[in-house]
């Protein structure tokens, strides 16, 4: 049997960077333009240049049963229209795989959605351990003025299903209203669900 060697990396809690740097994913507004509700606001921003929404620093680990994958996410503050900056969000490909988040800096929300459209929101800050139970899609939202930074760990055989959320959206949006993060119905969600049903 080939044993994997133990190793360590250093997580900068205030900047979110993991060193040595392994896989880094950068998501710009152009990578997720259809996911924000206000298409005019997306177009206005993109006409002046793209915007970095978030970065993910992933540990250099193989996927597979038994491993525990981990990463940090740096979600930059800002809005698209009145909608707050967010990650794409996903189900796990193996839907019954859970995940745990640990807030390191800044402020945000974990948004979760079940297959039937039920939405839950969990506020997070430094020190908050937020649990994504099996079968919940999950996305994070920055509700503060600083980068929202968190650590995440999940089973190595979970996989990612981004497509379902790209098609249906979340049923709720987190918007800035009178300076307060507020959960509102997603105007696009019903039409997207209807279209999806029509498409079969």
């Amino acid at each position: 049997m080939d044993l994997m060697e133990p190793f360590a990396s250093e997580v900068d809690f205030s900047r979110g960077v993991i060193e040595p740097v392994g896989d880094v994913i950068q998501r710009h507004l152009s990578d997720m333009s259809g996911m924000y509700a206000d298409a005019d606001a997306v177009d206005r921003i993109l006409s002046q240049g793209d915007r970095l929404i978030y970065e993910v620093y992933a540990a250099d680990l193989p996927e597979g049963e038994g491993q525990v994958l981990y990463c940090t996410t740096i979600l930059y503050p800002g809005r698209v229209g009145e909608e707050l900056h967010m990650t794409k969000g996903h189900f796990h490909a193996q839907r019954d795989r859970a995940e745990v988040y640990l807030g390191l800096a800044g402020e945000g929300y974990l948004l979760l959605q079940a297959d039937d459209g039920t939405v839950r929101s969990v506020p997070m800050r430094s020190g908050t351990a937020a649990y994504v139970p099996p079968h919940w899609a999950h996305r994070t939202v920055n509700t503060g003025d600083e980068p929202f930074i968190f650590f995440a760990a999940w089973p190595g055989d979970a996989g990612h299903d981004y497509g379902t959320i790209e098609e249906t959206g979340f049923a709720k949006l987190l918007v800035a209203r009178d300076g307060e993060p507020t959960l509102v119905d997603n105007p696009k969600a019903e039409s997207m669900r209807n279209r999806r049903q029509t498409d079969g």
Copy 2:
């Protein structure tokens, strides 16, 4: 299908406490007296009273495939003879389940041992993400003067096998020598392994 509700808890990075408090395990010297190499030192300490070596604050989660269990550990500074305070250490019952540690405060080492007696040591401090790959027994050691505090996450179907390490010990000890943490051969390990072989 019964969905589990998402939830959050708060981890105090400087004290190690998780609130609301779920399952708390306290390990005193009397719970692990046979695990330290210097039996006379153990007896001397216990004759004057027991000593709290470490505490574990575990999240209130069910075990099982797909879950991601997590806890904090607060490992108090000190020595038993020249051996530094440590946790009991264990293999996972499902040997191929990994684990990730994240240092929150203080200083310590992650010690790992493979089935063939190979030992590895990984220094940890606040921000160190230390990976326990599949098939390695793991124990932590406090090498500083303050509580060594870390967060850990592992698969819900990993289980714990403490018995193997209780029987054989680790092949190496971490001792304080000239004020420096130093890895030395465990004088008890060979006799324990021989006894185990004789016992069949």
